[in-house]
Symmetry: C2
Subunit: 328 residues, 2 copies
């Protein structure tokens, strides 16, 4: 079996290389502002609308970067990924665009919208039981069997570097020198790591915070203890994209010295943020994509200066979305 | 009473001046693409995501341009607008940002989301009965009484020039030289007129089409007959923003020689487009904002080459939106 790359910790050189590789391949998503958001948050808030990215989440950045860096040999043997949904869609589309065979290992309780997204890109799906089976083991065995490249969801040099291009875009914004902090949504921590590298290089005075849902605050606790903490729960939040058990080893090695701290929001705060995004930003944001916006709206981000939050994904089932936007 | 400006037909010089006035004031909204959209439309389709604009529609462009071009005297006497909703929100916010008094005359069946948008900007609202009262008359009398500037929704040099900045942005897109056509949503035709001027100057080989809902196809019929035709219906479409009775005099004078033709879509096609935008573009698009996307998805736009459609607004009531996204 082959890992997706060497395991070397990515650095800003990798992020800048990803920026070049992905130019014209990804959407440089807009950074929005809204008077009412500033009022509710009590400060200036900018929203990086990454849910508009291809496949509806930031995951396409890393996936596309990984796929475009495969060797000819690797391309012929295909790729495998495990994912709660957004990484799966990113890998599936990026592979399809290059005519590369792709298998995805997904939990059998994945929101239908994410399954449909993968199927639209003609990938093969292998379902597993999230509570009783080990997806990494299934993926590793399958990759060995097929001699395929395993594209892990939040580690690997090309993945983290690809996500980091989002950080480059934030730093390149005309108002970024006023940003006191950037707040990002953390599952495995790959997006956080990429952004951390980009900000350290291009916006060094800006703080970076993670945000997580209650019960899945492994990053917050890990930043406090200095080591990778685990969540005890396996379910219990609407933020399906952020139900990771522990920070990724590679991403945490990058994040621990670079992230200022971790924030936590409740599902109700997430729902209010999704409703706000619908009503005032005209964005469809999924629960896991809305946690940092929720932190801003509920004034949980330290400081009073301008901040940038990331609406990282928009893949939400219509029935859940409708119940949230019509709640009183 | 004073009209909002001289009545001179705007030209490309006015549009470029608006571009300068509005730089940094408006969002240069992104132009999105999506594999699945191309597949369904049978051609390359680019979506100008103008629903992300401040106040959730393109109307803010013209309104902000008008407000920023008021004389000191005019600023002190305040402004008045009549509108089915989006123009009202645009004027109200643009006025509030400059500390200018603002009164809005709105139909009493305006969607609540649009009323709330106006109230959030602290404007005074005067309701009228769309079926029995003449909003223009009410507005004209009030403007005379208060010596206030009447900002009409789809005529006036600064309004049309402001909307035209959207056309400048389309023409400036890296792929615009491949666009065979641009399709825009037409109510009074002010956006169309602005875009027509911009494309004529910066993208002269590109065709421009309007799109309207069934029963409100006054532009389509007017382009055929060469004169301003009227709709007989006053209601009967979910596209509340496009229920204008006839093309504006000023906008039609610009559009009649510059627009290739008019397209028409049904409410069901509009709903399918809104559902598509929710599921795949992660955009909240209102019915009237979705007609040109509907025309693309239902293959009603002549030709087979790349086109650009405009998602011009996103102010839709949650209850209507939820019923549309959860329909089978």
């Amino acid at each position: 079996m082959k890992y997706d790359d060497t395991g070397k910790l990515p650095d800003i050189t990798d992020v800048r290389a990803a920026g070049q590789t992905l130019a014209g391949e990804i959407l440089a998503t807009p950074i929005l502002r809204c008077d009412l958001l500033d009022q509710q948050a009590g400060r200036e808030v900018w929203v990086k609308a990454e849910c508009l990215q291809h496949t509806g989440s930031f995951k396409y950045r890393g996936a596309r970067n990984r796929i475009l860096n495969l060797t000819q040999n690797e391309r012929e043997n295909g790729v495998i990924a495990y994912s709660s949904g957004n990484h799966a869609q990113g890998v599936a589309l990026a592979a399809k665009q290059e005519g590369i065979t792709c298998s995805i290992i997904m939990p059998n309780d994945t929101p239908k919208v994410k399954i449909d997204g993968v199927l639209a890109s003609k990938a093969q799906i292998i379902f597993y039981d999230r509570l009783h089976e080990d997806r990494q083991k299934i993926a590793t065995e399958l990759a060995a069997e097929q001699n395929a490249v395993l594209i892990e969801p939040f580690s690997g040099r090309f993945i983290i570097a690809g996500q980091g291009t989002l950080g480059l875009e934030i730093a390149a914004h005309p108002h970024s020198d006023q940003f006191e902090a950037v707040v990002t949504n953390a599952g495995g921590g790959g997006l956080t790591a990429g952004i951390a590298l980009a900000l350290e290089a291009d916006l060094p005075d800006c703080d970076l915070y993670t945000c997580e849902p209650e019960g899945f605050d492994d990053h917050m606790r890990s930043f406090v203890s200095g080591q990778r903490e685990r969540n005890t729960a396996l379910s219990g939040t609407i933020c399906d994209a952020l139900m990771t058990q522990t920070p990724g080893e590679m991403s945490f090695a990058i994040n621990r010295g670079r992230v200022r701290g971790g924030l936590v929001v409740s599902d109700d705060e997430v729902k209010a943020a999704m409703r706000f995004a619908f009503s005032h930003l005209k964005l469809v944001v999924e629960p896991g994509g809305a946690v940092s916006l929720a932190a801003a709206l509920h004034r949980k981000v330290p400081g009073t200066g301008p901040i940038c939050v990331i609406a990282s994904g928009g893949n939400v089932d219509p029935n859940l979305f409708q119940s949230i936007i019509t709640a009183p």
